[in-house]
Every structure is written in structure tokens, then in C-alpha cells.
């Protein structure tokens, strides 16, 4: 797996070490770091067989839908996907129909998903790294109190905030556009992002920052030239996490962007799933169109995704 990201950090990414030192959440993520070193490799034949059986069992539902998505509409409605092996008959029509067909046009919703996701990943991560820097390396009054407050906000379920936020967006006249979704996703990501990035920042050796200060570097310079390069793995991990979260989200999108001009693909899918109309047979293809991006990201950057999860799993 040689992605640009993993190439820049060959081994033992920062995430592990830093999380281990952090206050509460260290245990699990720290384990991941040590796991690499202590590897007992006792493979046994029964275990291998069971593992394969389990993995196959776990994949059958997805695989079944994948096969279904390539079958002709008539067959989808009439027989089960396993019949496709007895008399194979496959087509790409469902995909072209789902993407560009008048009634579904998943292409539009796919673009909406993309338009929603990119800013909703970039903005909170940037804001969170800046805030994390302030909490870690800038002395100001009430710093600890404010940090604890931010930390505590992690426990607020987003459901609690939706209606008042919606009212506010309507008052501002920006409801029904992309702005509420971007803003909301950014806000919801902040507490965890600030908390995690703060812990990573805190663990960067003090001498490094001090040395830069002695050389006359200001806060901005220290942030961009000393800390940022070291934080790349942590930011990548959280970035993937946030990317999947936003791309796969349904609740926030349903609340703030359910109109056709802004709705992401998950909203359209959920809608289609609830109806048994004429385009029901496009559901499998639609589902796979929506899955292709997160699954590709997951497969390519699995290592970072796992790290992001390990670090984020202690989220409230």
C-alpha cells in the first residue's frame, strides 16, 4: 500500500505515540502501536478455515446486492441473485439508468455529495488544528477552562441542536442552500477534532517549539512550518474519518439539505428505499454508486482509517 500519505510517514505514525500519552483515550490507540512490535504468529489450520468462513458469511449480503445490481430489471424483480449463476445475464443498464435516467439521476446527487463533503472536511480540520494550537501552545487566561468546555461538548448528541439551528438558518435566509450543511457539519466535527489534535500537538517536544521561538518565529510561522508537517498523519487520520462521516451521513442532510438541488446521494437512496415505485430495481445500482467512494477510500487508506477509528473511538 504505497499511497502518497503513507509514503511520507513510513512507520509508526505520530498518531500512535501521541495518543498513548494523552489523558484518557490512550489505552486503545497505544495498543495499536505496540501491536506491530509484539507479533506472535501462530497460524493454525482450523482458525484459518473459520476465519475464511466468517469473512465470506459477512460479505454475502453485500456481494448479493452487487450481483443484483448487474441483473436485468425483470430478473431483479422476479428471482433471487443466486439464480444469476445458473443462467448468467448481466447488464450495465441499471447503472446508466440510475446515474442519468430522468426519474433518479443519481449523477446529480453524487455531485451534491461531493460538493457537501469537501468543504465539510477541509473547514473543520483547519479550524480545529488552529484551535488545538491555541490550546496547546499559546498562553492565555482561562485556557484550561475553555478546553474542558470544548471537550465536554463532545457529549451533546446532534439531535439536540437540529431544530434551533434550522430556525436560525431560516431566519438568515440561507436554508435550502449548501451553506447550512457545510456550517453544521463543520460545527459538529469540531469538539472531537480539537480534542484529538490538541493531544497530538501537546506531545510535540517543547524544545522544538522553543527553538523556533528563539529563532524569532512567530506563532503563525511555528504553526505552519514546525507543527503542521509533524501533524500530517494525525490530520490524515481524522480527515478520512470525517470524510466518511459526512459522505455517509443521512440525518444532517435530511434536516438541512433535503431539496433536490442540495440533497446528497444518501437522502435520495433513503427516499427510493421507502417507495416501491417504478425505479425500485435501480436501488442496488444506486446503493453501489453511493458506496464506491467510501469503500475506495477505505481500501486505499485502511491503515489511516483504522487509526482514525482507534483514536476517535473514545468519542462521546
Amino acid at each position: 500500500m504505497s499511497t502518497p500519505l503513507s509514503a511520507s510517514v513510513p512507520d509508526a505514525p505520530l498518531v500512535d505515540e501521541t495518543v498513548e500519552e494523552g489523558s484518557g483515550k490512550g489505552i486503545v490507540a497505544g495498543l495499536d502501536a505496540r501491536a506491530g512490535k509484539v507479533r506472535r504468529k501462530v497460524s493454525s489450520r482450523p482458525a484459518s478455515i473459520i476465519a475464511i468462513v466468517l469473512a465470506v458469511l459477512w460479505t454475502i449480503p453485500t456481494f448479493g446486492l452487487l450481483v443484483t445490481s448487474f441483473r436485468p430489471p425483470r430478473e431483479i424483480r422476479r428471482t433471487g441473485w443466486w439464480e444469476a449463476f445458473a443462467n448468467p445475464e448481466f447488464t450495465f443498464d441499471n447503472y446508466t439508468d440510475a446515474l442519468f435516467g430522468g426519474s433518479t439521476s443519481f449523477a446529480t446527487y453524487f455531485i451534491n455529495s461531493l460538493v457537501i463533503t469537501l468543504p465539510a472536511v477541509i473547514i473543520p480540520i483547519t479550524l480545529a488544528s488552529l484551535a488545538a494550537y491555541a490550546f496547546a501552545w499559546v498562553d492565555f487566561k482561562g485556557r484550561n477552562l475553555l478546553f474542558v468546555a470544548v471537550f465536554a461538548l463532545q457529549i451533546v448528541p446532534i439531535q439536540v441542536t437540529l431544530v434551533p439551528l434550522l430556525t436560525q438558518y431560516v431566519n438568515w435566509g440561507i436554508d435550502g442552500s449548501f451553506w447550512p450543511v457545510w456550517l453544521s457539519h463543520s460545527i459538529f466535527a469540531l469538539p472531537l477534532a480539537i480534542f484529538l489534535l490538541h493531544n497530538f500537538m501537546k506531545d510535540i517536544p517543547r524544545e522544538l517549539v522553543e527553538a523556533a521561538r528563539v529563532d524569532g518565529a512567530g506563532h503563525v510561522k511555528i504553526f505552519f512550518q514546525v507543527l503542521m508537517p509533524l501533524l500530517v498523519p494525525a490530520i490524515a487520520a481524522f480527515g478520512i474519518f470525517q470524510f466518511l462521516w459526512v459522505w455517509n451521513d443521512l440525518l444532517v442532510a435530511l434536516t438541512f439539505a433535503s431539496g433536490q438541488d442540495t440533497a446528497p446521494i444518501t437522502v435520495r437512496l433513503a427516499e427510493l428505499s421507502g417507495s416501491r415505485g417504478a425505479s425500485w430495481h435501480l436501488l442496488p445500482a444506486g446503493a453501489f454508486i453511493s458506496m464506491i467512494v467510501p469503500v475506495a477510500v477505505f481500501l486505499a487508506l485502511q491503515r489511516y482509517f483504522v487509526r482514525g477509528l482507534l483514536a476517535g473511538s473514545v468519542k462521546g
Binding site: G30, P61, G64, W81, I155, V160, S273, G286, L309
Partner: protein, 327 residues
Amino acid sequence: MDWLLDPDGTGGKLAVMLVAILLFVVVMGLILFLVDRPRRVPGWVVALAFAGPAVVMLAFGLLYPGLRTIRDSFYNRTGSAFVGLDNYVTAFTRDEFQIVLRNTAIWVIVVPLVSTLLGLIYAVVVDRSRFEKFAKTLIFMPMAISMVGAGIIWKFMYEYKPASQPQIGLFNQVLVWLGLEPQQFLLSAPANTFFLILVMIWIQAGFAMTILAAAIRAIPDDIVEAARLDGVGGMRMFRYITVPSIRPALVVVLTTIAIGTLKVFDIVRTMTGGRFETSVVANEFYTQALRQGEQGLGAALAVILFVLVIPIIVYNVRQLKQAEEIR
């Protein structure tokens, strides 16, 4: 300004997206540039520039709406008249909401326990297999799929056709192969809740496996060796060495899944829409607050969700603190 709110076509949308990102970069850049100009700036000015935007957003988007919702939960459906605890009384006493609460309780007990147990079994078995990486990827994959996607995948698994027709859903086909009657898996309460729960378990078991496998690998070799020399093996090794050693990880996994399960919404929404007695608190909140316009009741349900999350998090933090002290 209009095109910023209502862009035309794909090009327009992408343009607005770029504008949003650029706007953000320019504003933040300007703030940082200004702060960096004078050589000696007081700490609070720097802090304001770095943390200010995030703190303002949190106050606007989490703190204020949270307080507002707590207030709304004591008001009527339009938020115009104070009704005391009426909304909570409704939420806890009316029949349909009792089913919602019962379902939520079932979800939050069954999903974490079963997922963690499965994850633990996987972690132990898969770790000792030759196809470890491959098997892990496949089991972990549902984590990357949206819950909407998972809902659709499983809807097709549960699909029902009368016995006279060929089956589309694999489960019913298996029943037919076994000579049994096909079932309406998603329609018949209360069993249907468990069939929805299965979807969540399918997603979460991979997560549990990943974390627990990392924890098991990190058990120091000498402990395992010492136990082995003492003649401990097999199940006893698992019971007395493995499980106690990964206790903190188990707590994290259980609580994380429990919290995720409490907020589960997409699965129920996609698969049954909360009908046929399958609704849970998170789904009912959406229905009441955003579909029916029952602001007060919706707010009360959101607050109930909030209150249910708190003890799990407190337990989690306390357990982690304890583990830190032992280390």
C-alpha cells in the same frame, strides 16, 4: 449574491464550493496575517485569532441550540406556551412511545453485547489465521458503507415473496429450501426489531474486532509465556489472561457501540421508516420534530437521548481513569 445560495447546474455547484473554501482560506489567512504583524502581541489576541472562530462556532452551533432545545422541551408544539413536564409525560406514558422506548432499550443492550462478543471471537480466531489481512478487511468493510447502504443491502436479504413465487431474499430462500414458510421479516413485530438490530451488529462487529485484535496483540509476551509455563491453556488462557488484559479496550468498545446505537437513525429510517413498531428514540425525534412539527415533543425526545448518553460516557471516562491509574 443569489447564485451563492442557489447555484445552477453542476458547474455552478462546484464553483460555489470553491468559493466557500476560498472564502474560508482568505478570511482565516487575513486573521492570521494581522495577528502576526506586530512583533509582540499579547497572548489573548493570538488565542482569539487561532481558537476564536472555532469557539464562536461551537457556542452558536452546539451550546446555544442545546440549551434552546432543553427549554423547548418544556413548551408546547409551537414553543409559545409553557407546559411543564407534559412532553416528557407523553413520551413516557403514551403506548406508541412506550414501544419506542422498549425498542431503544433492546437495541442498546443487544447491539453492544453481541457485536463485542462476535468481535472478540473474530479477533481471537482471525488473528491466528493465514488470511488474516484479507478476512479482516472483509469483516471490517461494512464500517465504510453508509447505514443507508447497509439498510438497502439487508432489505434485499429480507425481501419477501409469497410461497407460490420464487424468492428474491436469501433468508426466505433458505427457509424455502429447508421446507419452511417464507416470513415477512420486517413486518412482524416484535421480531422485526431484532432483524434491524442484526444490521447494526453486522456493521459494528468489524469495529469491535479491529480494536480488540489490537488489544490482544499488545498483551505482553511474558505474561502469556508465564501462564503457559504454569500449564494454562485454551479456554482458561482466554478467560484468565486474555480477557482481563484487554478489559479497558472492552469497555471502550462496549460504550462506543452503545452510544452509536442510541443515536441509530439511518437503519430504521431506510428499512421500515419506523413503522411496524420498529421506531427508536432517534428516529422518533426526527419524525416528531422535523416531520410532524411537534417541536416540544421532539425536543423532549432529543433531551431524553442526551440524558441516556451521559451515564454511558461517565462510565467510560471513569473506567479509563481507573485503567490509567493502574498503569
